[in-house]
């Protein structure tokens, strides 16, 4: 048994961290947050040049053919640096969907472009308030034409294509590929809690779409795989928030002492560390399950996802608390992590949805083979 990343993967991590430290400071994040920009094009181009967008794409579709494990390493660093780019939408969601369910022709058409950042993709799942539900799914495809109102769609304003969850002629939910420059697509930018990752409403009216694949199982499979990659982004962000809090607690004096010498602060930070360690272990296990397509991937994914959402929320909010009044200012970076923590925890369904998946997977495992846990 070996529970660590390989030397090559650790080198990739160091390289990514160094690159992002130089090209993705919080000033870069703020530039997108505080302006009408939708993403940082220079950084996006940089991730393409570094080979990150094409890392897990097979070589036959002009990718680097590395494993999902490398993508996890990159995701953690992107999360850590709050990268204001459509990496998750385009790579974990759109490219993964094509890879998972696309025909050979669709893969040839889309994967090279997605992997080289020439095309930006996203997933259009939500139709408004409440957990996405197959029972209540409104989006409808008839004779290859989609009618739907999808909101919010992350990176919806800048995406060139979207994977749309809709009900087809057969009545089954499926994944449909929509070219967003096609006729019958209207988009509107929405105000959101983290505008360094903008959200849009997209209305499809008789828009021509292609079927990628049908069935709930396929959609769940896509979300499970993406959940692990998003969990690594969350892990990276949570880790950074804890570091910020520890550093401040060591530097700030009150009552003649470093505030980090008071147990009220020390114990808070210890609890953050404990949650983070649990999250890290769950993420690592899930990365392995993802890379090996292990049977317990769905359970491992849901576990990592819940763990990561909880860890990032705890670390980002308590980081603010440790900073006291300054943590409540726009000027201090602490709120950037707090924003991102919430956006990432809701992006492919919130905690409740993923906790439900944990328990339903446990029930499935119990009904079949005994669970490993």
């Amino acid at each position: 048994m070996n529970f660590e990343f390989s030397d090559e993967q650790n080198m990739l991590r160091e390289q990514a961290r160094a690159y992002l430290a130089e090209h993705c400071s919080t000033e870069v994040v703020r530039k997108v947050l505080e302006s009408d920009l939708s993403f940082d094009t220079k950084l996006w181009q940089g991730t393409v040049e570094m080979g990150w967008t094409s890392a897990a794409t097979p070589e036959e579709y002009s990718g680097l053919g590395l494993s999902e494990m490398e993508l996890c390493v990159i995701a953690e660093e992107l999360g850590r640096s709050l990268a204001p780019i459509p990496f998750g939408s385009s790579i974990y969601l759109a490219a993964q969907a094509v890879l998972l369910a696309g025909s050979e022709a669709q893969k040839q058409q889309w994967l090279p472009r997605l992997s080289h950042g020439e095309t930006i993709g996203t997933l259009a799942l939500s139709e408004g308030a409440g957990s996405p539900s197959y029972d209540l799914l409104q989006a409808q495809v008839r004779n290859g034409k989609l009618t739907a109102k999808k909101t919010p769609v992350i990176d919806g304003m800048i995406a060139d294509m979207a994977i749309v969850v809709a009900r087809g002629d057969s009545g089954k939910p499926g994944l449909y590929l929509a070219d967003l420059s096609a006729a019958g697509v209207e988009r509107k930018l929405l105000s959101s809690i983290d505008e360094s990752r903008p959200q849009a409403e997209i209305i499809f009216t008789d828009t021509a779409v292609e079927l990628l694949g049908e069935g709930q199982a396929l959609i769940e499979q896509l979300l499970d795989r993406a959940a692990i990659l998003f969990a690594f982004e969350q892990l990276g962000g949570a880790q950074r928030a804890l570091e910020m809090a520890v550093q401040y607690a060591s530097e700030r004096f009150a009552f003649g002492r470093q505030i980090g010498s008071f147990q009220a602060i020390k114990h808070k930070l210890a609890d953050m560390f404990a949650t983070l360690e649990m999250c890290k272990a769950n993420c690592y296990y899930a990365a392995w399950a993802l890379t090996t397509s292990s049977d317990d991937l769905p359970l491992a994914a849901a576990t990592a996802r819940v763990s990561a959402s909880q860890a990032y929320y705890q670390c980002s909010k308590e980081n603010i608390q440790v900073h006291g009044g300054s943590g409540f200012t726009w000027e201090l970076d602490a709120h950037l992590y707090y924003r991102r923590a919430k956006v990432l925890s809701l992006v492919i369904g919130g905690e409740r949805r993923w906790k439900e998946r944990v328990v339903s997977q446990l029930e499935t495992a119990e009904a079949g083979a005994p669970t490993a846990a």
Binding site: S261, K266, A274, A281, N282, T303
Partner: protein, 407 residues
């Protein structure tokens, strides 16, 4: 990253399984018992010792020990593989946690060659079970504040004082012991570490009745107990350093194994009616179960990570404190959850399939206290992992006999 056994590990597991399967059958014929039998503690100790003897004779008794002491010098990974397989067939292996997990590494690290030769063989062959005489009524988290005195008398030491929370003291043959040999120096500096025969005159063991109703722990009274200087481990005044070796191993031993009760809580939820259906159909119940599972999985995966570190020759770090912290609080909440699912009937403590919840509701109180309280663990994490300032110590550099004790 690979969570499967390597080829060598799989081979070792196969050998372990084979030996266990062959021997557990014979063992149960000689010593008939079943898991959950109401065996007394002394019967359990006899069984555990007999099992240790059999393992020793079969070459599985002290896998990681040096060959010089009858060990096989296998890796920690292999030892863990054996322990995993053993736990499936032998529920009493846990009785050796203090003996093998704490006393042995301490003796090996700090004992002379002579002491190792004298003490280790009787542990290896199942003759002696050990306990740990550390905590005192006035020294729990502040362990270095112990008051039990050892006074030199010729080549012997005379021990007087009281120890508490001693697991297995009533069935143990020997013990590791920390005492104060010099009250005129600062508290950490006046301690010395000994090993002691529990049958020595003047050793009296009295059981403690816990809030859970059971008696797993004891008070141990030491009255004019005479032990030879040859039973001292390491130098006079070095007791704190030696005790640290024991405690670091304790956190590894305690944090290593746990039952997550996931199947049990699912069973409670499945068999309890709620509204038109069952508790397991209720969203709130499902969310709470998921919360626990995510923690249980995290603990399991942290354990695997630690194992992976150990297998590469790394040392167990203070990160092990995380597991113990999360486990104690988590299992207490889990027990409370199981009672809440049963609702009004959750007040019952019948000895049936649901009985674990009412038992654990009390037993887990102790999980958060034994082997380092939640608060001490948080101090360890924040100071040794996160690098925050150590607690302000008003008793530092003050002679122990001048430290305010509130008494």
């Amino acid at each position: 990253m690979d969570f499967n056994d390597t080829k060598e590990e799989a081979q070792f597991r196969q050998q372990a399984k084979q030996w266990l399967e062959e021997n557990i059958v014979q063992f149960k014929q000689e010593f008939p018992f079943e898991v959950g039998d109401n065996v007394t503690d002394s019967q359990a100790a006899e069984l555990a010792k007999a099992w240790q003897k059999r393992k020793f004779e079969g070459g599985w008794g002290c896998l990681t020990w040096p060959k010089a002491f009858g060990g096989r010098e296998v890796s920690i990974m292999e030892a863990t593989i054996f322990a995993q397989e053993e736990a499936k067939v032998m529920p009493l292996a846990g009785m050796y946690i203090i003996t093998s997990g704490m006393a042995v590494p301490t003796i090996m690290t700090h004992g002379t060659e002579e002491q190792c030769k004298q003490l280790l063989p009787s542990i290896a062959n199942g003759e002696r079970l050990w306990c740990q005489l550390f905590s005192e009524p006035a020294a729990g988290s502040d362990l270095a504040g112990i008051k039990t005195r050892a006074v030199k008398d010729g080549d012997d030491w005379i021990i007087n004082g009281q120890k508490v929370w001693t697991t297995l003291a009533h069935v143990s043959d020997w013990a590791i012991l920390v005492v104060r040999t010099d009250p005129t120096v600062a508290k950490h500096k006046g301690l010395t570490y000994f090993v002691i025969d529990m049958k020595s005159p003047g050793v009296e063991v009295r059981p403690i009745k816990q809030a859970s109703g059971e008696s797993e722990f004891n008070e141990v009274f030491l009255t004019d107990v005479r032990i030879p200087d040859s039973q001292r481990l390491d130098a006079v005044g070095n007791g704190w350093r030696v005790a640290m070796t024991t405690l670091m191993n304790e956190r590894v031993a305690v944090g290593g194994a746990f039952s997550d009760n996931v199947e049990e809580i699912l069973e409670v939820a499945r068999t309890t009616p709620l509204g038109q259906g069952r508790a397991i159909d209720d969203c709130g119940v499902r969310q709470s179960i998921a919360d626990w599972y995510v923690k249980a999985a995290g603990l399991k995966n942290i354990g695997l990570r630690q194992l992976s570190t150990l297998s590469k020759g790394g040392v167990p770090g203070p990160e092990a404190s995380v597991s113990k912290l999360v486990l104690g609080i988590g299992r207490q909440d889990l027990a409370a959850m199981s009672l809440d699912i049963l609702d009004m009937a959750g007040v019952l403590a019948e000895d049936d399939a649901m009985g674990w919840g009412s038992h654990d509701f009390f037993r887990t109180i102790g999980n958060r206290l034994e082997g380092g309280t939640d608060e001490i663990l948080r101090n360890i994490i924040s100071e040794r992992v996160l690098g925050l300032p150590a607690e302000i110590r008003v008793d530092k550099d003050v002679p122990f006999n001048q430290v305010p004790s509130g008494a």
